[in-house]
């Protein structure tokens, strides 16, 4: 089996966390391909250019899924989009992928952000059954700012693979938000290469795993330039017999002096049957760097629950509020109020079923 979501530096094989397990394997591509995909550019703000072809600079970028996963998605994509942004754009570009029973939506997208430009992108994934795969590659020139917000509202019978690759030149800022609320199999990998001075990567993710869902994440910040910064923070809730691995890597390469990277994960375990594995990794090829990781897993904070109860809020409602509270800082990053409200409503429904 080709490796998907492989950790940049291998650990003991017996821990079985070096790459996604067989549960996270890509579904076989039908002999005649995936057929037509259902991708809609819902809102294209004025000022960006929709390109026919993927910019060359994006083609070679590798996501956290790894070369194999990227190639599978890229070669078998049934829908593609590419945009170039040359100035600061206020309104977000909104893209929607839809899947249905027996159908796949395999999307390959790319963004080329010219120096000093800014763009927000919201990518929504919907549908109850089928296959959802996406690869988004982003090239940021000097001082460019790109915000990508991926919202996954898939049903419990969808297989999902999602790769994100970003390459940032000096002073660029890549802000990435990922919310994974469904899917039988969810395999996501994001990699940001901070190639030059002061490039920054800010990632906030939230996920929910229920039933016997499998969730596998591999996020990487490669610090190459001096004074680069990465923030990677994740919140999750696991119930039923859900099985999750999160790999978070901050890689300080030689030359990345005075760079700073922080990563954290907080997981609420709602059932004794869940399997939760977290692999924080900080690689140091440079002395003068600051790298920190933190991870916590457990039940809901009893003191906080008591505080809510002391305000007349029932234990059930307090539990729902606390879980929603964990998602809220991530949801608050969605740059569209209507969509944010829809996500919070859907979140409320899914929390109730935990």
């Amino acid at each position: 089996m080709e490796k998907v979501n492989a950790i940049p530096s291998l650990t003991w094989h017996r821990l079985r966390v070096n790459e996604a397990s067989e549960k996270g394997a890509f579904p076989p591509v039908p002999r005649r391909g995936w057929g037509a995909g259902d991708v809609t550019l819902v809102k294209v703000p004025r000022g960006i250019t929709v390109d026919e072809d993927e910019p060359i600079a994006c083609e070679e970028l590798e996501s956290g899924l790894g070369q194999y996963g990227d190639r599978l998605i890229s070669e078998n994509a049934n829908s593609r989009w590419a945009v170039t942004v040359e100035k600061k754009i206020k309104n977000p570009l909104i893209i929607e992928d839809s899947v249905a029973a027996g159908c796949a939506c395999v999307t390959c997208g790319s963004v080329y952000a010219v120096a000093g430009s800014a763009l927000k992108i919201i990518h929504i994934f919907r549908g109850d059954e089928g296959v959802s795969q996406s690869l988004t590659r982003i090239y940021l020139e000097e001082g460019a700012q790109v915000e990508l917000c991926e919202i996954q509202l898939l049903g419990a019978a969808v297989s999902r693979h999602c790769g994100v690759a970003a390459f940032g030149q000096a002073g660029s800022q890549f802000r990435y938000t990922r919310m994974e609320l469904g899917g039988a199999v969810t395999v996501c990998g994001a990699k940001a290469v901070l190639s030059a001075r002061s490039a920054a990567f800010d990632m906030a993710c939230a996920y929910m795993g229920t039933g016997d869902e499998y969730l596998d994440f591999n996020d990487v910040a490669n610090h190459i330039g001096r004074e680069t910064g990465s923030e990677m923070h994740v919140f999750g809730v696991l119930g039923g017999t859900a099985d999750k691995i999160l790999r978070g890597t901050i890689d300080f390469r030689p030359g990345a002096g005075r760079s700073v990277g922080h990563e954290s994960e907080s997981v609420i375990l709602m059932s004794p049957g869940v399997r939760n594995r977290t692999v924080p990794l900080i690689l140091c090829g440079e002395e003068e760097v600051e790298g920190q990781h933190a991870a916590s897993a457990g039940r809901l904070d009893e003191d906080a629950l008591y505080y809510l109860n002391a305000r007349g809020i029932s234990p059930e409602e307090a539990r729902r509020l606390m879980i929603e509270a964990g998602f809220r800082p991530v949801a608050d990053r969605i740059p569209d109020a209507k969509l944010r409200d829809e996500v919070l409503e859907e979140l409320g429904r899914r929390i109730a079923s935990l």
């Binding site: 003191d303 906080a304 008591y306 505080y307 809510l308 109860n309 002391a310 305000r311 007349g312 809020i313 029932s314 234990p315 409602e317 307090a318 509020l321 606390m322 929603e324 509270a325 964990g326 998602f327 809220r328 800082p329």
Partner: protein, 248 residues
């Protein structure tokens, strides 16, 4: 004689199998202001926590009556919905829930119906102004990044909005500067009327200025050892707890 709002009978409370309170009796009538004083570690916070139904504390003996009902076995949220309110000494920080949403949810929980948004917002802004809290705090996550004083004001804001029948204030004035204590006292006075009652735990008479104190209780080693009127506060403030002789 009318039924007291809160009646505590022979209360024994333990935590981790260690008894902290050894038989406390207390009655608070409607509209009254009671003050609970005593050296550190004597069980003052334990008493109000047990009254509020904190699950970490076990009532091993005695009863708690609220509005004439035995609430000794009632859950914390049930007591709050009946009209009890505890202002915490160390309020929780909860990222992800804004102060406004939290208070609106709490008001809905105790009243049984969700407050109408615009009227609620107007009242919230008015009460925040009364307490000197910038209205931007309404959109901030509950107590996250608040200073110690702001957290205490957030507690009093909840008191003003939720309008309980009984407020248990656990050292609400601790860590507050003189001006903040005065602001908090003004907030408490704005809430207090002939129908609702207060039990204030304090080491500082400043918070009591402008409040008509009806009864003062001194707790020592898990027992109420002295009771009296407002003059007892002055006695303790001037001479310390050593100056207060235990009653036979």
């Amino acid at each position: 004689m009318s039924t007291p709002l809160l009646k505590i009978e022979g209360l024994h409370v333990s935590v981790d199998e260690k008894e902290i309170l050894h038989g406390v009796d207390l009655e608070i009538g409607a509209g009254q202001v009671h003050v609970l004083m005593g050296p550190n570690g004597t069980g003052k916070s334990t008493l109000v926590s047990a009254v509020m139904g904190d699950p970490r504390f076990t009532v091993t003996e005695g009863r708690i009556y609220f509005k004439g009902e035995d609430v000794t076995e009632a859950k914390t949220d049930e007591r709050a919905r009946m009209g009890m309110f505890l202002s915490f000494q160390a309020p929780q920080e909860i990222p992800g829930i804004t102060l406004e949403n939290f208070i609106r949810t709490a008001c809905g929980a105790v009243s049984g119906k969700q407050p109408k948004l615009f009227a609620f917002r107007r009242e919230l802004r008015e009460q925040m102004a009364r307490l000197g809290l910038d209205e931007s705090y309404a959109e901030r996550y509950l107590n996250v990044g608040f200073s110690g004083g702001e957290k205490k004001k957030s507690e009093i804001l909840q008191l003003l909005m939720m309008k309980p029948a009984l407020a248990l204030l656990d050292e609400t004035d601790s860590g507050l500067d003189v001006d903040a204590v005065r602001t908090v006292t003004e907030g408490i006075k704005a809430w207090h009327n002939a129908e609702n009652s207060l039990l204030i735990i304090t080491h500082n008479a400043k918070i009591l200025e402008g409040l008509d104190v009806d009864h003062v209780h001194v707790l020592s080693k898990g027992l109420i050892v002295r009771q009296g009127g407002a003059e007892l506060v002055r006695e303790i403030t001037e001479g310390g707890f050593a100056s207060v002789k235990e009653e036979d």
